[in-house]
């Protein structure tokens, strides 16, 4: 799906995934995409958001306030050290085989009750929808590729996710923001 995404747009998605993992969240949501958009301050979307007072720190705080920071449930490395287990050495071996963050999240129940490892955080239905809408926005604007600004338009158009809610709670006029992003694209 990401073939036609620009470098910046891919970085937005990558940052969203990374932050979901670092906060131990089970899914990558629209709120993580919003954070991704703000991770690159020179982009069209980050600048548009900055003019409305939306900063990376503010959004991250809002996400943690709403969804919590799951790192409190992390494996206690110090406790393992007392019985001679070096968690960082274990982690290194496991990440070699299963990828970065393979031990970071708890296993969870997936569809049909199947127990899944916390290796991956899937995109939430709303985040998927947001990326689909970003593609559609790009097509509608006759853009040859999908840029970060299109992702922000996707967040706005999806409208229901935590990402959009953070923006409306900040008192942002969504149609004005939408118009600003469109003209800057």
């Amino acid at each position: 799906m990401l073939e036609r995404f620009t470098h910046d747009a891919r970085e937005v998605v990558r940052h969203a995934e990374e932050q979901a993992r670092k906060l131990r969240h089970e899914q990558v949501g629209t709120e993580h995409l919003l954070l991704g958009l703000l991770s690159r301050p020179e982009t069209v979307s980050a600048r548009a958001l900055a003019t409305h007072g939306i900063t990376y720190e503010r959004v991250r705080e809002e996400i943690v306030r709403t969804l919590g920071d799951g790192t409190s449930g992390d494996i206690d490395a110090e406790a393992l050290e007392t019985i001679g287990i070096d968690l960082s050495a274990v982690r290194e071996k496991i990440e070699e085989a299963f990828g970065v963050g393979a031990l970071d999240r708890e296993p969870r129940r997936g569809r049909g009750g199947v127990l899944l490892s916390g290796r991956r955080a899937p995109f939430s239905p709303r985040a998927k929808k947001t990326l689909e809408l970003a593609v559609r926005e790009a097509v509608a604007l006759k853009s040859g590729n999908i840029r970060d600004g299109h992702i922000l338009l996707g967040v706005i158009r999806e409208g229901q996710g935590l990402g959009a809610r953070i923006l409306t709670d900040a008192g942002i006029d969504m149609s004005a923001l939408r118009a600003e992003v469109k003209s800057a694209l």
Binding site: I75, A77, L80, E81, T82, L115, S117
Partner: protein, 77 residues
């Protein structure tokens, strides 16, 4: 050595608070490792029977824990 590890080695390993905390951490680690390995084995096409054998538990136990409510009555290879 971290403060806790230092404390533990100073106090010896008989302090229940230190020992129990270590057991809890180890259990969390085992749960996550097991989930990764079982998932990997299933993705590689292993049967519950084969997984159970290597984990040293019954097929029913591993199926109940990992397959949830899905296809409990289905006869699997």
């Amino acid at each position: 050595m971290s403060d806790t590890a230092q404390l533990a080695s100073d106090a010896g390993s008989r302090d229940p608070a230190v020992g129990l905390r270590a057991v809890r951490a180890l259990r969390l680690l085992v749960e996550r490792l097991e989930a990764l390995q079982v998932e990997n084995a299933r993705n590689a096409g292993w049967s519950w029977q084969d997984i159970a054998l290597l984990l040293g538990v019954s097929r029913q136990a591993v199926h109940k824990k990992y397959a949830g409510g899905r296809g409990l009555l289905r006869r699997e290879k």
